[in-house]
Structure formats: structure tokens, C-alpha cells
């Protein structure tokens, strides 16, 4: 492939950022010094294109070090990896945390999603607009944008700050002073358990990245047992426990692992989906921050069970602390022989690589996640073929949610209560927002009671933005997989108190989907826009329930992926319950 590069050249700093990931160029063809021999021998081609999966890490490096991606820098990236500049531009512009239009030393992403906007985010906008200028403008060093849910709902309002050359940081209970300050030292993790604490048992550990401490409380017992009994038996154990995926789709985990194990293939992958971006959801972040080894151990067990020798953890770009903890845990596990060419002397080779998301909710969809790791726009693929047959890099792949893997560890390690526990994220109008671990059969009302609420909420959203608002009668329904329980979704429970403007909340959910649609298919790309607009008219008093129903139906029926298929759930349920618009 001949590629035509932009005229502008990369600066020394930009080249350094790229080389930090790719190593220095070795020939003139890659943008290095042109030697005599380069006139006679061409390099690049397939070898360079096989490194396409490094595109996102390289773009991250430029964003991290420089604060944006210039045309010259993108040209150098394309030269290094033999990627047409238009394609690389298409990838860079897909992701919210990468900027091709501006280079800014500091970018503040302030959450204005459903929880933060009822917890002071709106006032903070005004303050920021006064201090810096309108959204998207710059005061020379800082620029700010509104953000969708940052997964910090237990300490709202939240902000995520990118500082070029310094790093990324999260600011919780944000105000102007805290935004300006440097990194803020740990906050107390907010969690509780009804019944046995299985998944949250280690959340209080003083140093979650301390391998010895992890082992001292039963860590890596699961992997040892897995290596003893062998892949078939592990899958049978997970199947017998009835473990279902905690990422939203509730697919039986054992069946997924068996499907991958049974594929005839020379290479397979396991992927941990740590892109948690569902509004109101923060359990996966908490697991990674407070118990990173359980995620690493879980992915290792999944790799062993499915016959994969390589695992990826795709962690949300707005979760710097979780990423750091995971990297530390992986390094410690490698040093101690829990990862590597010969895991615990069993002859099973397994390694884990961490990949960072770049600000796109859709990349939590498993096939969009593959595209993202492969260095492309995060557009979901058509299914079938399913990931268990054609997944990451075209190979059979098992994708599992963070909590699913942690639960699998407990199940294989025979921890009492392991098969009967679920993490819920309780936030909004409660006294103590946080993760609540509870056995199946718990009710929303019980969860709210644990989190402490002095008055009954006027509305409860269950399962995230892709979930739905529950009628008060449903607050007493035992939660589980299948009726009468409402769909579990991400396990988020967001309570809205009497004072909250529900029109505003439901409108915000419609905006969320409009904003996060990948734009690939017409029902979702256009449907989410029409839903947002039509809802606005309904809120203003027009009776648009019929049209909203029709929009909902085509999104549900004809969208490619789960985003479009569920984008009307919350809005429809709010209308049905009379929470929004003229129907009240």
C-alpha cells in the first residue's frame, strides 16, 4: 500500500512520544534516518501493518505527553505503522479522550450525568464557565468539557482531568479548589454487604497490590485448584454454579468458555471487559482498585479453561487508578510465577496485557471492544459470527466482565456463598452511596435501606441508562436473572429524591445515547437523535407518546447492537410510569 502523508512534520517531542511505544524507527521507510540501503530495500508492509493494534496506545501516548494529536504527529504514526492517514484520523476522532482539534495542557471532563447533575455538577459548570469560559473554550492552559457518567457516582460530582506530561487524575466531590489541586490521596472506598462478603471481602485491605496479603486471605487458591482439576472440570464447576455474565447480557459463563474451548483453533484469547461506562455503575472500578489480583486470577483461570495463552484487560480510559493497580498486580503476579511461560510450574503459559479505552461507551460492547484493540473505530460487528468463533484478531475469544471473573475465582476456590452473590451500585439520593454486595433475591428496597435513605425516592433507575425505571411495586421484587425480576443490567440502582426534576433526568438519558451511538447504523444514529428531540417536545407539553413508541420499536428491532436496542428502555419506562412530560 502506498500511503500519502501530511506535509507537516512531527516535532521532536511528538516523535519521542510515539517512539516511547514503538521504539525508535530502524529505517528511512519508517520515518527514521534514510540510509543508502533504504534506496534498494523496502521495509514496512505486512510487518508494520501487523502492529496496527498499537495505534490506540500510540495515540494515547501523544495525548498524554503532548495534550493532543497534530497532523504532523499523526503523519509520523502513519509512517511508522503503514496506516493511511485518513484511517488513522477516523480512529482518532472516534474517541472522546483524544483531541485532534486542539492541543491543551489541561483538559477537564466534568460529569453532568444523572447522578452528578443532582449532586452539584450544575453549579460547578457555572463556576467553571466563569473561571475558564464557555464549554470547549480555553484560558490558555485549561479547557473543559461536559462528560457522560465517569463511574464515580459514589462520590459525586466527579471530574476527570488530563494533564499533558503529568498524567490523568480523577477528582471526586469536585469543586474548583479540588480541580486545581494535584492528585488527591485515596478516599475511603464505600461498600457494604448483606449476608456473606465474598467479592467485597478484601476491599478493606491496606495495600490491594500486595500479593502476599492477597495470598494470605485465600488468593490464588482458585487458580491452584483449576490447574489441578484441569480445564474441563473447571468449566463444569462454573456451569454447575450457574454463573452468568455480570456485564449486562447475563450469558452463562461456563457455556461461553466451553464454546471457545471446543473451537478448533491454533490461537484463542480471553478478554476482560473493564470498560465500565454504564451510567450509575462503578462496581468494576471498585473491584479493580480494591482487589486487582482477583481480576488477574480470574482471567488466568478463564485462559486456562478455554485454552488461551493470552489475555487482554480493556480498562476504561477514565479509570487511571484501576489501571495502575492492575498493572502493578500483573507485574507482581509475573514476578511470582502466577503469569508467564509456565504458570506455577504447570506447563500452562499465560500472559496478560492491559489496553486502555479512550472515551467511548460503545467500546464496552464486546465486538466494538475487539475493533478498538485492533486499532480501529469502535464500531460493533455484525453477529453472527459470535466472538466465541470469530473474536479478537479473528480468533475464538471469551469476553467476560470484571465481576464475572472475580465471581468465577470465588466459585472455583469454593468460597462459601460464591455462587449466590452480586454487586449492586447504589447511588443518587441516599446517605451512603457505594457498592452493596448481596445474595440474589435481595430487593431494591433492601439495597436502598442499606445505603440509608431517609425518605422514599420518587423514582429508581435499575440497570443503568440501558435499564429502566421501576414502579414502586417492583422495589420489593426479589432480584435475579429472569422474571419476575427486572433485567439485572449492570446492577446499578440510582435513587432520585423528591426534589429532582425528572424531566431533566430522562432528557439527560436520551442525550447520553445520542452522544454515545457509534453512528454506524441508521436506526440508532438517527433514532437516538429523533428520540432526544421528540422527548423534548413531550416535556414541553406535546403528546408525542405515539411517535416515541414508534421510534423505540425501530431502535429495538433494527439496530445492530445492544446500544441502539436498549436506547429507548429508560425513556419508555419513564413515560409509562408518568415520570416525565404531560402525563403527570
Amino acid at each position: 500500500m502506498d500511503i500519502r502523508l501530511p506535509m507537516a512534520a512531527a516535532t521532536v517531542d511528538e516523535r519521542r512520544a510515539v517512539d516511547r511505544i514503538l521504539g525508535p524507527p530502524t529505517t528511512g521507510w519508517e520515518g527514521g534516518e534514510r540510509r543508502r540501503v533504504d534506496g534498494h530495500v523496502a521495509t514496512g508492509g505486512h510487518a508494520a501493518r501487523a502492529r496496527r493494534h498499537l495505534l490506540l496506545p500510540v495515540l494515547h501516548a501523544l495525548q498524554d505527553d503532548i495534550g493532543g494529536i497534530s497532523d504532523g504527529a499523526l503523519g509520523y504514526v502513519c509512517e511508522r505503522l503503514t496506516i493511511p492517514p485518513a484511517e488513522a484520523y477516523g480512529v482518532a476522532t472516534f474517541y472522546g479522550l483524544l483531541s485532534v482539534s486542539e492541543v491543551s495542557p489541561t483538559v477537564i471532563h466534568l460529569c453532568d450525568d444523572i447522578v452528578c447533575r443532582t449532586s452539584g455538577a450544575k453549579e460547578l459548570f457555572t463556576a467553571l464557565a466563569d473561571a475558564i469560559g464557555p464549554e470547549g473554550s480555553s484560558d490558555g492552559t485549561r479547557t473543559w468539557h461536559r462528560s457522560n457518567c465517569l463511574g464515580q457516582c459514589d462520590a459525586a460530582p466527579a471530574a476527570f482531568v488530563q494533564e499533558a506530561g503529568v498524567g490523568r487524575r480523577v477528582v471526586v466531590r469536585a469543586d474548583l479548589d479540588r480541580l486545581a489541586a494535584g492528585p488527591i490521596d485515596g478516599r475511603d472506598p464505600a461498600y457494604a454487604a448483606i449476608g456473606d462478603a465474598v467479592l467485597t471481602a478484601r476491599f478493606g485491605a491496606p495495600d490491594p497490590a500486595d500479593l502476599d496479603a492477597y495470598r494470605a486471605v485465600g488468593g490464588y487458591r482458585g487458580l491452584r485448584r483449576a490447574l489441578e482439576v484441569g480445564p474441563d472440570a473447571v468449566i463444569a464447576i462454573v456451569e454447575a454454579a450457574g454463573l452468568r455474565g455480570r456485564g449486562g447480557a447475563a450469558f452463562p459463563t461456563g457455556r461461553k468458555w466451553r464454546a471457545v474451548a471446543d473451537e478448533e483453533a491454533t490461537e484463542r484469547y480471553v478478554v476482560c471487559n473493564a470498560d465500565e461506562s454504564e451510567p450509575g455503575t462503578f462496581k468494576d472500578r471498585m473491584l479493580m482498585e480494591r482487589d486487582p489480583f482477583s481480576v488477574v486470577e480470574g482471567l488466568t483461570i478463564a485462559g486456562h479453561a478455554t485454552g488461551a495463552t493470552k489475555g487482554f484487560i480493556y480498562v476504561r480510559g477514565e479509570y487511571p487508578d484501576a489501571e495502575d493497580r492492575l498493572r502493578a498486580a500483573i507485574a507482581a503476579a509475573e514476578a511470582a510465577g502466577y503469569l508467564g511461560d509456565d504458570v506455577l510450574g504447570s506447563g500452562f503459559p499465560f500472559r496478560i496485557e492491559v489496553r486502555r479505552g479512550a472515551g467511548a461507551y460503545i467500546c464496552g460492547e464486546e465486538t466494538a471492544l475487539f475493533e478498538s484493540i485492533e486499532g480501529r473505530r469502535g464500531e460493533p460487528r455484525a453477529k453472527p459470527p459470535y466472538p466465541t468463533t470469530v473474536g479478537l484478531f479473528g480468533r475464538p475469544t471469551a469476553v467476560n466482565n470484571v465481576e464475572t471473573l472475580a465471581a468465577a475465582v470465588a466459585i472455583v476456590a469454593e468460597v462459601p456463598g460464591a455462587a449466590d452473590t452480586k454487586l449492586f451500585c447504589v447511588s443518587g439520593d441516599v446517605d451512603a452511596a457505594g457498592v452493596v454486595e448481596a445474595p440474589f433475591g435481595v430487593t431494591v428496597r433492601e439495597l436502598l435501606t442499606v445505603a440509608g435513605s431517609s425518605h422514599p425516592p420518587q423514582a429508581v433507575l435499575f440497570g443503568g441508562a440501558a435499564g429502566r425505571f421501576l414502579a414502586p411495586a417492583e422495589w420489593d421484587v426479589p432480584l435475579g436473572y429472569g422474571p419476575p425480576s427486572p433485567p439485572m443490567g449492570s446492577g446499578a440502582v440510582v435513587a432520585f429524591g423528591p426534589g429532582v426534576d425528572m424531566d431533566d433526568i430522562v432528557q439527560r438519558i436520551a442525550e447520553f445515547f445520542r452522544d454515545e451511538s457509534c453512528g454506524q447504523c441508521v436506526p440508532c444514529r438517527e433514532g437516538t437523535v429523533r428520540q432526544d428531540e421528540t422527548l423534548r417536545r413531550l416535556v414541553a407539553g406535546a403528546d408525542e407518546r405515539g411517535l416515541l413508541d414508534e421510534i423505540a420499536q425501530v431502535m429495538r428491532d433494527a439496530s445492530i447492537c445492544g446500544l441502539g436496542q436498549t436506547a429507548a428502555e429508560a425513556v419508555s419506562s419513564a413515560i409509562a410510569l408518568g415520570l416525565v412530560g404531560g402525563a403527570r
Binding site: 477516523g90 473505530r377 455484525a382 438517527e526 437523535v529 429523533r530 428491532d557 445492530i560
Partner: protein, 281 residues
Amino acid sequence: MTGRRTVEVDGTAVAIEPGATILDACRAGGVDVPTLCYLETLTPANACRLCSVEVEGSRTLVPACSRIAEDGMVIRTATDRVRHARRMILEFLAVAVDLTTAPELLEAMAVYGADPSRYGTDDGSPRPDAVVDNDLYVRDLDKCVLCYRCVEACGDDAQHTYAITIADRGAAARVATEFDVALPDSACVFCGNCVAVCPTGALMVKTEFDMRVAGTWHEEAQTVTRTVCGYCGVGCNLDVHVQDGAIVKVTSPFDHDVTAGNLCIKGRFGWTHVRAGVDGA
């Protein structure tokens, strides 16, 4: 994967070859399924969803253009759900983009009773102007339905030039060059193979664009003559469109088994000299 399969399309059994899509099956059974992003010569982009049909046992509708038909599948193409989806997709497109040079879509709108007027007029998004940055073809993104055809034709499916991409996300997604540079500054080689596959006139050769603006484009008064390009030994087929004794556009037949509708800059655009000196061109 050998042996023929049988599927049921709207109640009638249809025999198909392995690997055939639902769309192939429907066509073999004489059932019309509308398509937009699909084109025989390109990989299915699976994006417009206009071809949605019902398949027994499937929770959602299924895109006929790209789903491989399986033995025993029961397919329904004329149910209320299917008609609803198609009508809504057409309405969505008509609200968002200018379909005046997409006659097939306008026809489909009539068939499915699409009424874009019921969405109000509060679509605040600014409508882009046509971009005229070169002498050969024009891009009018206000007419773009994001079918991905041009990107595929420029890239993996035909030209392998990769001058254009889909940039941005969601409702902001658009066809673009890197950093939105003008086409002459991009990798574009002006083969016009993107123009050839565009279903809505969002990409249009400059001659046609100018004549439409001037009100002098009269397709009904044009003749199309098939001939062979004389520029090089490849010998691509040309369809020469002539109006009032002058060439107004050159295309190439999609059903040609070698060139599949593609040409290079010479064959598609190198004809203005034909009338040099006749009308002062």
C-alpha cells in the same frame, strides 16, 4: 458446507446455494427487499438496515443483505414489524438528509408511507454546503446517508487508495479526509470510483452538478452508449452519457466481471477534449 439448502420466504420454499444470503434467497424467490448500503460489488456494510426482515426465532430483525441463510430458515419480509422498521428508517433519513437526488429512496418512501413531516422542525444541526474543491467531482454531505460505500470503494473493496474515512462518531459521523484537508491535498487519485457507488448524489461528477444547478440536466434526454476506453490496454467498458450532442458524464457497468464499475481518472474524466474547439471548451 456442501449441498443446497432450502429456506422459506413469505411462505414459499426457495432452494439456495450454501453461502447465499437472505437477500439472495429473497431475490431467488422473486420477493423484493429494498436495500441502500448494499451493492453487489462491495462488502456488505450492514449499516442502513433498510433490508431488515423477520427470521423466525430471532429476537430482533435481521439484515437480509449480510446474513447468511441457513437451512430451514423461515423468513418473512412483509410483516408489520418489517414495514414499520423500513418506514421509520426512511423517515429518519429524509429528516436528516436531502434525498432529492436519490430517486429510489423517494420511491421507497411512497411504498412504505414514510412521512418525515411528523418530526417537527427543531433539528438544530447546521446543514453543510456542497464542497467544490476540485474540477472533477463535488461532495455534498447534506445528501450523505453514511452508507460506507464510498469508503469501501476507495479502500479495501476496489481502489486501495484509502483517501477517505468515516470520521467522528454518532450523529456527527461524516465522510472525511485526514484533518478534513481538501481532496487535492489528500491521497485521492480522482478515479471517481466513490462517485460511481454513491446512492444519493452526495458525490457527483462536476459536470452533472453544474448542469443541475443551472437547470440544464435532463436525464430523459440523454443517450448512453457502451464503448471501450482507448487510453490503455486494460480496455475498461465505458458508458458514455450524451445530452444534446455532448458528453456529460462517463460511467462503467457494475456487472462487468473484471472492472465491476470501476475506472481510473482517464476513463472517467478524460473526455472534455472530445469537443475541444467545437463549443469553445
